[in-house]
Symmetry: C3
Subunit: 305 residues, 3 copies
């Protein structure tokens, strides 16, 4: 491997990491990796390796070169690798996570093909569905072991209890952290720096999106500990950035549409979690994907929004 | 707002109401609104407001003018508004219903985009999925309260008991009423008038569709009280009108295909209800959508049917 | 019916039977029918009639003549007829199975339309979804009776116990048998003959695919009695043939990709079965369909794989 290839691989890999938050910026990707690594070194290693694997699969498979360079074959691998290493248990989980990262890249290619004619981006759909599938596999294959935190539950036995402490400062920082499954404040601050580095507008909109979700979820009466752990915020941040900036096309009121979309991720998240309750699966970024697809597809028909 | 705009808004709104049964006719829409209002004034108000909201969202968003005029951005809003105000409880439900009506219009636009190249109509898919999502949200947000009639149930605890009175006269009128969540006979008669007003063939086919479903569901042994409340009939009526009249294209035997499709809605309805049992959700018009998509898409490949 | 029509009908029908394993060869179809008939005469009759019905529906409906001749309207009908006659109980089940075979042909046409622009084949998706729907209907219509082997179960009560005898010889033959719901060895041998008749490469790849699944499922720790009954093998065989031979296009490493895909059907099968547990439904060939779609769609974007 010569120096140019290495440079290309590093740039594409770090861009792959930054693409998780819809940004194409190698420095931002590097700061994100730092934010993950200070929370857990092994998680940082999985992140880096997953991004490399995803990018290489795209390259070896002969995918469109520019897409590979932009990190578009990396971000689903990053998230899949991270999620599997966190939601599985046992020593094999790091190996399974990296195999999952490879499949995520193939799945991304498949979804790019299926959605090409719609003009709607794939987002993190491959990561979500693949992770759900591999987590459910634990019920049938002994070498896959699910984390004890994920327990299936019948909806008929479910009761909602929203009480819990309110900690707005935590909520302000944790939303962005949860995009990467992190809930420590320092990582959250670093992630904000990564976003601001790529553009002040991205950072400001991320804050607005998170605030919209905090207020909506608090106002509609969601569980407090989920709100302030950032579990309603991360989908709103991603949705805000996607709808109001990255894919805004010729919309007349992208900021307003973005805020509405960010608020709507809250009931969607509540609903996705309920669908998944009998399977004990986490919602991951499905609320972001559904809400963003809704608004981006509608925009093709209602171009002013 | 000048007189012309008001006239336009009223025409589009009433057409939106009539589009629920695949008809574009403002007078029919008005009669339908009357049928709903005599059953419940508040439900009538929700219907009217939802249709207005859906139409205005289409207009403001810059959707294709003709589609807006034909009421195509109204009918999913009408159904969503009605369903949410009926299946939620608490005072906030009317407000949630109207917000739902607005989102339904955006969702309709999104689905129009996704399905455009297939040449298959969106039907009431946006209403169904949106309503399901917002109803499930009640399990996570205290300000959304679900009606106590909707209770999740494990399929392993389910036992089928079909016994109950047979009342063919009720069955004859209730099918059309259930399209609008109504089960009183007078409303049913008014709805038939609305359909016949738009064309005698529509009315006759609606009766045939309903009869096909009554006989099929009775013959296959469905629960009697569901049959005669019209809960197997409404999907068949809509399917019959869609397959045999509205989207019949160059089919050689549209009436026969329509009757077969109407009969097939019965097992599909039984199945959709079973899928939803663990979540306690109503089938809404999903059997109609699935069955109509099946036959309309097949017709593109088997043009004689 | 003159002699030419009869010859055409027989050829298309037997090709329809062979298309279940992605082969277009009337003699292979005839051998497969023999393999089924020696296991059960009534099942053989259902197979033959279902294939005839599916083909005729395609012809009468005016579908593209070449597709009908190649048996593309037969194979989903064959599988639906077989599955319904096996998974339902009661005397009506044969009649329901043949009606199901007719609908399967219509459903195939619909899916061909929906997937046309993607360039991805429909595979057995119509059979799977239709069979699931008709099986769930049993919970609502007394004239549909489900086999007592299919019982819904809550995921929270599920415990995995993989112990059981290991019988590699059974495993070697049963995988191909399970494609047609058969688990006797003689039928398995006949099916291999049918595949080899159509081409030695098809036969060799089928054996490789099955071996890949046996080793993967054993290595990952699946339930032994399922492995050696061939319940992990059949999806792998179909996937191998589809990915490495039938739809290989210009791939550079079709054999390697095929083996990877065959191995991946194992965790996918474990996952599909888990999704279906609360409904008590069998996975059928869904793991094959999902895994093959994944790789074929990815291949459009990553042409080397």
């Amino acid at each position: 491997m010569n120096r140019d290839s290495l440079k290309w691989l590093l740039a594409s890999t770090f861009k792959g990491i930054s693409q998780v938050i819809l940004i194409e910026n190698a420095i931002s990707g590097f700061i994100i990796l730092a934010a993950i690594t200070i929370a857990s070194v092994s998680l940082g290693a999985v992140t880096l390796l997953s991004a490399v694997i995803g990018t290489l699969i795209g390259k070896i498979g002969g995918a469109d070169g520019e897409s590979v360079n932009h990190g578009l074959y990396g971000y689903n691998s990053v998230l899949t690798g991270m999620a599997l290493s966190l939601f599985l248990s046992g020593d094999d989980r790091f190996f399974i996570a990296l195999v999952g990262a490879a499949i995520a890249s193939v799945f991304t290619a498949a979804m790019i093909h299926f959605m090409r004619r719609t003009g709607i981006p794939v987002l993190t759909f491959p990561f979500i569905v693949l992770t759900w599938f591999l987590l459910l596999t634990t019920y049938r294959l002994v070498s896959f072991k699910i984390s004890p935190n994920l327990t299936p539950q019948s909806l008929s036995n479910w009761t909602l209890n929203i009480k819990g402490e309110t900690d707005w400062l935590d909520g302000a920082v944790n939303g962005i952290g949860q995009i990467f499954f992190l809930d420590n404040n320092l990582s959250g601050v670093l992630l904000f720096i990564a976003v601001f580095w790529a553009g002040w507008r991205l950072g400001v909109y991320a804050i607005i999106g998170n605030a919209a979700a905090l207020l909506t979820s608090y106002g509609l009466g969601a569980e407090h500990h989920l709100i302030f752990m950032g579990l309603y915020g991360y989908n709103a941040i991603l949705t805000m950035i996607a709808v109001a900036i990255v894919f805004k096309e010729n919309a007349k009121y992208p900021l307003i549409t973005g805020i509405i979309a960010a608020c709507l991720t809250v009931p969607i998240a509540g609903s996705v979690v309920t669908w998944l309750l009998p399977y004990g699966l986490p919602a991951l970024t499905m609320p972001f994907v559904l809400c963003t697809w809704l608004f981006l597809a509608a925009r093709k028909v209602m171009p002013r929004f």
